[in-house]
Amino acid sequence: MMRTSLRELVSTAEPEDLAAALQETGWFDLLVDERPDAVGLLFEEHGRALAYSRALDLLTAESLGFGFDAGRGFVYPVRLSAEVSDSSATIEIDGVTLGACDTTDLLSVILPAGNDSFLLASVPREIDGLVLRPIEGFDPELGWTAVQGQIDSAKVEMRSLEAGNDAADEVTMAMACSRNAIAHELVGLAEAMLAIGIDHVTERHQFGRAIGTFQTVKHRLADVKITITAAQLANELAWEESDPFSSALAKAQSGRAALLAANHVQQVCGAMGWTQEHGLHRFIRRVHVLDTLLGSSQAIQTRIGRRLLDTRSVPRVGGF
């Protein structure tokens, strides 16, 4: 019931009106009160409908105790290797904001700090060394803004460093939650692409039979189903475990599922899926761009591997 009405709303609203519509219909309150279920639903539907809104900013603001302010710009990192620590003299920023971000003087910049933890810096928009540039990129529909540069750490307010460890944990946990949300959106995209693939191979006939009867075609879609299932379970576990590592795992699994779906579904849709008109390309573009937010699945994977090798231990996440 909730899903049906949400699906209707997300798939019909104009992008610029979506945030307001979600607020009016009480969805933003649900994000706070019914966190796992409402976040899962909302972001999966975003993915399915190829919708874009600033729902992630709302969630991030809420987790950080800010309350939603449309003027506040959050900058999410897209490269985990640009790490900061307590002693960094300069801070490297390589991130994006979800909107045009021209109404605020102060940016809330999220910075990767290693091992799935994050710090938060308040950075004046006009600070030396920072460049803001509208992103056309692989998915121009999104209308994001790139925020890049090297800035002097003395000139910014590092909330977590000054306030001690609890605040750092708060930022890290907030980002775990935001990673979960992105993971759900990636799963929504993957499911939408799988549905497109299933429709196509069922309807398209060659050699006198539906191409979905050929094993090689079938098995590509079976593999998509397998990775989506794994991603969904990883997302459930991330909420259950409620720690940064399981959220990293969820985001990596979901990114892998969405990227595999993009590749396999494009292949089985043949030449038709490669046209502008077909529209599959919009999902593919979205997957590749969304995957970068708060660390790509590839970057997370390599980091997990390094962590395992460094600690010589293999964590067992999720039990009975």
């Binding site: 299933i198 191979v201 069922t202 094993q215 189903k225 293999v314 067992r316 009975f320």
Partner: protein, 390 residues
């Protein structure tokens, strides 16, 4: 551990109890750690002793029905036990896998056999094997030709079974045979619990590519078995086989992923690794694949414990199992090179044997190609493509 505690104990409390037990028994359990270079038959014989200890402590009787010698409670509790054993570096006896796979079919469809045999199998007093595959019926299991004909007091079995893990050391086999017409397909099958010491039964080990006797073939030459050995009703063989497979995908896969975590850890310990990016990437990839298996088999065990029927979805578990198995031992091969290829140590031999075994993970129990057919046809609703059988 007793019946009343089995009903109330939490997984966390059990975890602690297993840990305490393992440390209190550390000395007598030491021989069950690390690779064992002996032949399969010797290893099995040795590990039956561990089975006895685990059963006596009550851990492996958790979650089995009281009537069959179990302690009751949820089968999830055994999942905790297996996870802890592997985590602490012990081998879980592989003959217990057959109990996990076949036990539920006995308790569900043949309580009289379960009450006589289950506890003995749990405690390592008898070993079971599975007799499903045949030389001409592997992935196409519905084509099997072993016949069971009614005779005075029971059934007479004739045919050949193959790829029965631990068949050469087993006393009993759970055997699928045709009781209907030759062309009756899936409908004309029945399941039997066969005493392998009966006249007319011959078992021969098969040496696998890794040099170990991983399985056996069973020749049934007019072997007569009593009628009590029928599991379930006549003609219900396929239903029971499908029921049984859920547990193979469930608890067997869960135990396997526990072991794979331990082996991945061991492989990393064996490296003179410098954490180079390529190695890190490979380890991260294997870990994510393994995590997918852990999450899925955990869900399946939970559903089975709740009495649900996961049905065709278990094919996902099976594919994830083979992916994880191969990902972990591939990365182990890379991390332990070049002693993997060139070393003579016990550990090197163990890595090679396990790597080779992992190559079969996508073949045994229904090749992954069949699983992907099931996923695409029964879960995604894609049109059937086979020329026969539809």
């Amino acid at each position: 551990m007793d019946e009343s505690r089995a009903k109330t104990i939490t997984p966390d409390a059990l975890r602690q109890e297993v840990r305490d037990w393992l440390s209190s028994q550390a000395q007598s359990l030491a021989r069950f750690r690390g690779p064992d270079k002996a032949a399969t038959e010797e290893v099995v014989a040795r590990e039956l002793e561990l089975q006895r200890m685990l059963s006596e402590a009550g851990f492996t009787r958790l979650g089995w029905p009281l009537e069959a010698g179990g302690l009751g409670g949820s089968m999830e509790l055994r999942g905790v036990v297996f996870d802890e054993l592997h985590s602490a570096g012990y081998r879980v006896p592989e003959t217990l896998d057959t109990v996990e796979i076949c036990g539920p079919a006995l308790t569900q469809f043949a309580p009289h056999l379960a009450s006589e045999h289950l506890l003995r199998a749990i405690a390592g007093e008898e070993v079971w094997c599975q007799g499903f595959s045949e030389p001409a019926a592997g992935s196409d299991l519905g084509a099997l030709e072993t016949r069971a004909v009614e005779c005075e007091g029971g059934y007479r079995l004739r045919g050949q079974k193959v790829w029965a893990s631990f068949g050469q050391v087993a006393q009993y086999g759970v055997v699928l045979a045709r009781t209907g017409e030759a062309k009756s397909g899936y409908r004309g099958l029945s399941m039997f619990f066969v005493d392998l010491s009966l006249p007319g039964v011959t078992v021969r080990p098969i040496t696998a590519a890794n040099g170990r006797n991983e399985f056996a073939e069973i020749f049934l030459d007019d072997a007569e078995i009593p009628k009590e050995c029928l599991i379930g009703a006549l003609g219900d063989g396929w239903t029971i086989a499908m029921f049984l497979l859920q547990f193979e995908r469930g608890m067997y896969a869960w135990t396997r992923q526990s072991k794979l975590h331990a082996r991945l850890e061991k492989a990393m310990a064996a490296t003179r690794g410098d954490g180079a990016d390529a190695a890190a990437d490979a380890v991260g990839d294997a870990y994510l694949t393994l995590y997918a298996l852990r999450a899925k088999s955990r869900e399946t065990v939970k559903r089975l414990a709740a009495g649900e029927t996961p049905g065709p979805e278990i094919s996902i578990d099976k594919v994830l199992l083979s992916m994880a198995d191969q990902a972990v031992f591939e990365v182990a091969r890379r991390l332990t090179a070049p002693s993997f290829q060139l070393g003579n140590e016990v550990a090197d031999r163990a890595w090679r044997a396990e790597w080779f075994y992992a190559r079969a993970a996508s073949i045994f129990g229904g090749a992954v190609e069949i699983q992907r057919d099931i996923i695409s046809e029964r879960l995604l609703g894609l049109p059937k493509g086979r020329a026969v059988g539809n």
